[in-house]
């Protein structure tokens, strides 16, 4: 089976001239369908930049990034946007829409699906909220939710759009160990049942065991030990 994500010789830098700073150097990595890959490393080592590149949020500068077999280097805005609809992103921080309830926020994800009735999309949203344990908080605004609850809404929103690839930035950071565990199991189950690829950036040592593969990153490089591409 072709890899969902295939990186080859990826380099990326910010700034120009003397301020130029290389954040990614010669990254090569594969994520297959149904695989859970955990990416760890000290902060500032370029993990998030890597996620934005794979998530088609940033122009690729050098090297090759193939997602679902499509080359992202030189891809047009429209092509990248189309691709993003197939990628679920779970982002740290408060990126929920403040004016929408938990349920409506999740439905913003479900609304991206074509050809489903309003009722079907709403039911889907509720299901995912139940799956992340928020069925009692459907009509609460983000303002009234705790950090962990917000994080779970964000996860439900990403999953409601039926992604084929999931990129998660510290999904368990603001969750207690029990819920964190549940969420990670949920993501793992998704990968196994629906053949979804999962790439997760994490510092959380408690969840390392769910990984099919562990990748270490340091100073813009993947460290030797985890460099294996089959």
């Amino acid at each position: 089976m072709a890899a969902m994500v295939h990186l080859e010789g990826l380099r990326h830098s910010f700034g120009s001239g003397v301020n130029r700073r290389q954040v990614l150097q010669e990254i090569s990595l594969c994520v297959d369908a149904g695989e859970v890959v955990l990416l760890t490393g000290p902060s500032g080592c370029g993990k998030t930049t890597l996620l934005t590149l794979i998530g088609a949020l940033r122009q690729v500068q050098e090297g090759s990034v193939k997602v679902f077999g499509e080359e992202l280097k030189g891809a047009s805005r429209a092509a990248r946007l189309k691709l993003r609809r197939r990628i679920g992103m779970i982002i740290q921080g408060h990126n929920l829409l403040r004016c929408l309830t938990a349920e409506q926020n999740v439905q913003m994800g479900a609304d991206l699906l074509q050809g489903l009735s309003y009722r079907a999309r709403r039911d889907r949203s509720r299901e995912w909220l139940r799956a992340v344990g928020l069925s009692d908080h459907l009509s609460k605004l983000p303002h009234d939710l705790s950090g962990g609850q917000k994080q779970r809404v964000s996860i439900a929103r990403a999953l409601a759009a039926r992604p084929q690839l999931l990129l998660a930035d510290e999904p368990t950071a603001s969750l207690d160990s029990h819920t964190g565990r549940e969420v990670v199991e949920l993501l793992k189950g998704l990968a196994k049942d629906q053949g979804c690829g999962v790439l997760m950036v994490t510092h959380d040592p408690r969840i390392l065991d769910v990984a099919d593969r562990l990748v270490q990153m340091e100073d813009g490089r993947l460290s030797k030990g985890a460099f294996a591409i089959e």
Binding site: T48, K82, N95, L96, L97, L100, Q104
Partner: protein, 390 residues
């Protein structure tokens, strides 16, 4: 079909963005409503002025009107030989004519003794003047010399003439220093040019204005036979009569008067400018509100873009916010406009009222205002960078 659209609906993001910030929404709606009210008032005054300037013109029982080409408006009518009217009578399509004197004279308030200009029409009491048949019996009263019919809708500055007359008092006053007596009351209405109206006989008029050249009148009314074509007769008369008269249809006479107020005075311009200022103020307010709304939600818009929402979809959200603001800002403006028109009508006797054209015009202006501002605010959306959300 309808159910499919209903089932295809999305989260009403524009509506929720607006309504979940009630204070900001209230400020925006107040601003839009204020701009709308300003436009309603200024345009209302302007149209009211143009309508009011032809109060008398509309009442005239006539198909065609002869005036001097030197006349510029109802407040400065020049004379022309009444012979021309008689010549027009020769045309087989003409059924009847009424020569009319038309001038502003100085009326002395019988109560305070101060003087004020009043529009005075002089005509043969036997001739038809107004379409309203109730004038005919009253016109007979003018056959005695020095008698006038007073317009009871005149502004109160002319004195309590109507009250005195109704209470049975003999009301006498002076016009241009000559003594006259009020023989009856008529209801005509004021206009911007004339605060009050007076009707009198041809003979009395000449006594009040002895310097009028003999055989000179200011307005000639021409009534046509049923089925005659007014426009072709205007052409024929204009061709056959000398250049010292202009031939107009009744509508043309009304347009002539309105055109004077519109183009030869700054009044139309001033009110239009007032409305334009309301428009600009509204634009600034709506732009401010929408711009800060987009700015505040920029990270959220960026998140939506990262999720795969297309930019046009997000622009559509801002556009819908604009439309919603326009609709909900217009409603209070319309209601307040109605109320203020009533107030103005009672205070000034000017025919200011809501008409469908103006209601639609103001709505379109508000819509343009909101959509224009929304379009400007949309440029801010270009700053939303989905790569910055991590």
């Amino acid at each position: 079909m309808l159910s499919r659209i209903w089932q295809g609906r999305r989260i009403p993001l524009a509506w929720l963005l607006l309504t979940r910030q009630p204070v900001r929404l209230a400020v925006a709606l107040a601003g839009i409503a204020f701009a709308g009210i300003l436009m309603f008032m200024q345009l209302g005054f302007r149209d009211g002025l143009f309508d009011a300037s032809v109060t008398i013109h509309r009442l005239l029982d006539t198909d065609l009107v002869l005036i001097s080409p030197r006349s510029s408006s109802s407040v400065s009518m020049a004379g022309f030989p009444s012979r021309r009217l008689v010549q027009a009578m020769a045309d087989p399509d003409v059924e009847g004519i009424t020569p009319v004197h038309w001038n502003l004279l100085l009326w002395r308030n019988p109560d305070t003794r101060s003087t004020r200009s009043i529009l005075t029409l002089g005509f043969e009491p036997a001739d038809p003047l107004f379409t309203d048949p109730s004038l005919t019996p009253k016109a007979k009263l003018l056959q005695d010399r020095g008698r006038v019919l007073f317009d009871e809708l005149s502004r109160p500055e002319f004195g309590p003439v109507a009250d005195w007359f109704r209470s049975g008092r003999t009301v006498e006053s002076e016009i241009n220093g000559k003594k006259i007596r009020v023989a009856g009351l008529v209801g005509l209405g004021t206009s911007f040019g004339a605060d009050g109206n007076l009707l009198t006989s041809h003979e009395t008029f000449l006594e009040l204005l002895p310097n009028t050249p003999p055989g000179s009148i200011e307005v000639g009314l021409i009534r046509l036979r049923a089925g005659a074509d007014a426009d072709s007769l205007v052409e024929r008369l204009q061709r056959d009569l000398p250049d010292d008269v202009s031939v107009l249809t009744k509508d043309g006479f009304i347009a002539f008067e309105q055109n004077y107020w519109r183009s030869s005075t700054s009044i139309g311009f001033i009110f239009t400018l007032g409305a334009a200022m309301g428009f600009v103020v509204g634009c600034v307010i709506v732009y401010q509100i929408l711009y800060s709304d987009v700015s505040d939600h920029l990270p959220e818009y960026a998140t939506l873009m990262a999720m795969g929402y297309r930019l046009p979809t997000l622009l559509g959200v801002v556009a819908r916010e604009g439309i919603l603001l326009a609709v909900f800002g217009y409603l209070p403006a319309y209601a307040a406009g109605q109320g203020l028109y009533l107030l103005v009508r009672n205070a000034t006797q000017l025919p200011v009222s809501m008409n469908p054209t103006r209601a639609i015009t103001v709505f379109i202006l508000i819509l343009v205002m909101c959509m224009g501002s929304a379009t400007l605010a949309m440029r801010r959306l270009g700053d939303a960078d989905p790569a910055e959300i991590f």
